[in-house]
């Protein structure tokens, strides 16, 4: 019987179809600052040693360096657990956001099953992996048994067609899709992003799509690996991998097509990710802070876009701009390319790689009444630490152009005035 990508990948031990429930051993399992809590739960199970330490990857990123004694204690307990359980794949506070690090370090591979105790684990689908978020107790159970249950999801295919307009990036496209399909539009489903626009996209752009698939309820997002994927993985892949592709006649539950040739820059407005409007309709909204960072949009190509706008200019004098590269590798590359200098000279604040304010922990949390424009993936009430603040989400280009005026802008206006030379 013809099988979808996800049916194939989950059919390792016995042949399964959408709707069936099975137990499976993931290839890799990622946890972050929640590893101390997972370790406590693991100990409650009553066994001493974790099953296959080399399956586990632990990356500290949610509050690095520790903002106070409680976070410091949390990190300390994690380091002790890493030592005790001999987990080699451990990245301390210096390395970057877990989802970026997993990809840079060559764990996100075609055909692999990867789980993470974080909802944005869906990101690794950009490389043709089946990757999904799980809870802390489930990770503790994997520590103990190596296994987890899954219901095999039905597949939704989203085909993206057209010519990508200047000023438009993967972020505008995924915001448009989420705005149309809504926060529950892909509930429990496997979402397959396909079509000429996805093929044309960089690896970084594809990661934006799969990263945000969870914002419409998807179990996983996936993109078929191609020559770009292979080039990225060369000298990076940790283990041998075998890509899986959907059979041509496999059952696709729903097909959606998005034609993006006329797409305007998109903004997700408070307080839900699916509250999406064209930038032209929210243009003029005053902002107090810009956050350029997160596992969605803080990669080198994003830095180029933002630096090209802000070079030799100043951000608006009423505005703060917090910049957090997704990893230390990206930080170094951006430094070498001169982008960091451009941003600092423009008035931005550079913070070390990590999640920053996107959990409400530190490094740019908001005060009541404040408004932020962010390149991250969630704008829920209280997300940046204060429930009386507002978060708008946009692409890095929209954020950069808005930084110049201190209000949300339609970045196409800026491109026209600069003769389009920055894109």
């Amino acid at each position: 019987m013809a099988k979808t990508f996800v049916e194939k990948i989950l059919s390792r031990e016995r042949s399964v179809s959408a709707g069936e429930i099975l137990e499976i051993k993931p290839d890799f399992a990622m946890s972050h600052d929640n590893t101390a809590a997972i370790a406590k739960t693991f100990r409650q199970i009553g066994i001493k040693k974790i099953d296959k330490p080399d399956r586990h990857i632990v990356i500290l990123d949610h509050c690095v360096p520790a903002a106070n004694e409680k976070f410091a204690q949390n990190h300390k307990e994690i380091r002790e657990f890493i030592k005790e359980q001999k987990i080699d794949h451990f990245y301390d506070i210096d390395r970057g956001i877990c989802h970026q690090v997993i990809c840079e370090e060559g764990f996100a591979l075609p055909g692999k099953i990867i789980v993470g105790s974080d909802s944005h684990t869906t990101t690794y689908g950009a490389f043709g992996a089946f990757a999904t978020g799980i809870g802390r107790s489930e990770m503790a159970a994997i520590f103990a048994t190596g296994k987890i249950w899954f219901r095999v999801p039905e597949t939704i295919k989203i085909t993206i067609k057209g010519k990508i307009p200047a000023a438009i990036s993967a972020k505008d496209i995924i915001l448009k899709i989420i705005g149309d399909l809504k926060a529950d539009g892909a509930l429990y489903k496997s979402v397959w992003f396909a079509g000429p626009v996805v093929e044309e996209m960089s690896i970084a752009g594809r990661m934006v799509l799969t990263n945000m698939a969870v914002e419409m309820g998807a179990k996983n997002g996936h993109i078929e690996p191609d020559a770009k994927t292979a080039a990225y993985l060369k000298n990076r892949a940790r283990v041998h991998y075998k890509p899986q592709y959907s059979d041509p006649d496999a059952r696709i539950e729903e097909n959606y097509e998005f034609e993006i040739s006329d797409l305007e820059p998109q903004i997700a407005c408070p307080h839900t990710v699916d509250n999406v409007k064209p930038a032209s309709r929210v243009k003029g909204t005053k902002i107090d802070q810009i956050f350029f960072g997160s596992c969605t949009n803080a990669r080198l190509e994003d830095f180029k876009i933002v630096a090209d706008v802000l070079r030799n200019k100043k951000i608006h004098n009423h505005l703060r701009m917090v910049v957090i590269p997704a990893s230390n590798q990206i930080y170094l590359q951006a430094l070498q390319a001169g982008y960091i200098k451009d941003l600092i000279e423009a008035g931005a604040v550079l913070v070390n790689p990590g999640c920053g304010p996107c959990m409400g922990n530190h490094q740019g949390v908001l005060a009541p009444g404040e408004v932020t424009l962010s390149t991250s993936n969630r704008n829920f009430k209280g997300r940046f630490g204060c429930k009386e603040s507002e978060i708008f989400l946009s692409s890095p280009l929209t954020a950069a152009v808005s930084a110049l005026t201190g209000q949300i802008e339609d970045c196409r206006d800026f491109i026209k005035s600069s003769g389009g030379k920055h894109v």
Binding site: G46, C63, I134, T145, G217, F380
Partner: protein, 171 residues
């Protein structure tokens, strides 16, 4: 615990995990009593002081969307909530409820019938909710995973299958 009786706390669509249990507490608050006090902090500040044992949280579509944080399920359990009923659940939240041993019932037809403060009865063994004498049926958990729930959640379940619960008793 197959019968649950309690009052309804009614909320809308897309109630996300940030308003159920704010992200800023996820690495610093672990005590069940403290977690209970923070339940729904950014959604309904009255909830944690007025909730009573057995009360039922009612949500619209996509309840528990957002983060994977399972404290969003555990904090309701620790607050005494007997069950969560919704038109639909986010997949992570649904899994976390099973793993926490907190009943999560999918009952889209019930949402409009219920008002805040009304009392309903849930019979888990029979798969029904009783409201004003009318029975509403909810789909049972698949048999592959019903043991997880019946054993009180994922961790007690794993202890049972690895037999570490009986081993520790012997020790």
């Amino acid at each position: 615990m197959s019968e649950i009786t309690g009052r309804i706390w009614k909320y809308g669509d897309n109630i996300n995990t940030d308003v159920i249990f704010p992200g800023k507490y996820t690495y610093t608050v672990t005590d069940p009593g403290e977690m209970a006090k923070l339940a729904l902090e950014d959604l309904d500040p009255e909830f944690s002081t007025l909730v009573q044992n057995g009360d039922i949280v009612l949500g619209g579509k996509n309840f528990g969307c957002g983060s994977s944080r399972e404290q969003a399920a555990f904090c309701l359990k620790y607050a005494g909530v007997g069950a969560v009923i919704a038109k639909s659940f986010s997949r992570l939240y649904y899994r976390n409820c099973i793993n926490a041993g907190l009943p999560a019932l999918v009952l889209p037809q019930l949402y409009d019938q219920l008002n805040k403060g009304e009392r309903i009865e849930i019979r888990l063994d029979r798969g029904i909710v009783v409201h004003k004498g009318v029975e509403y049926h909810f789909p049972p958990l698949p048999e592959e995973i019903i043991d997880i729930f019946n054993h009180g959640g994922l961790i007690p379940h794993i202890r049972k299958i690895l037999k570490t619960d009986s081993m520790q008793r012997k020790e």
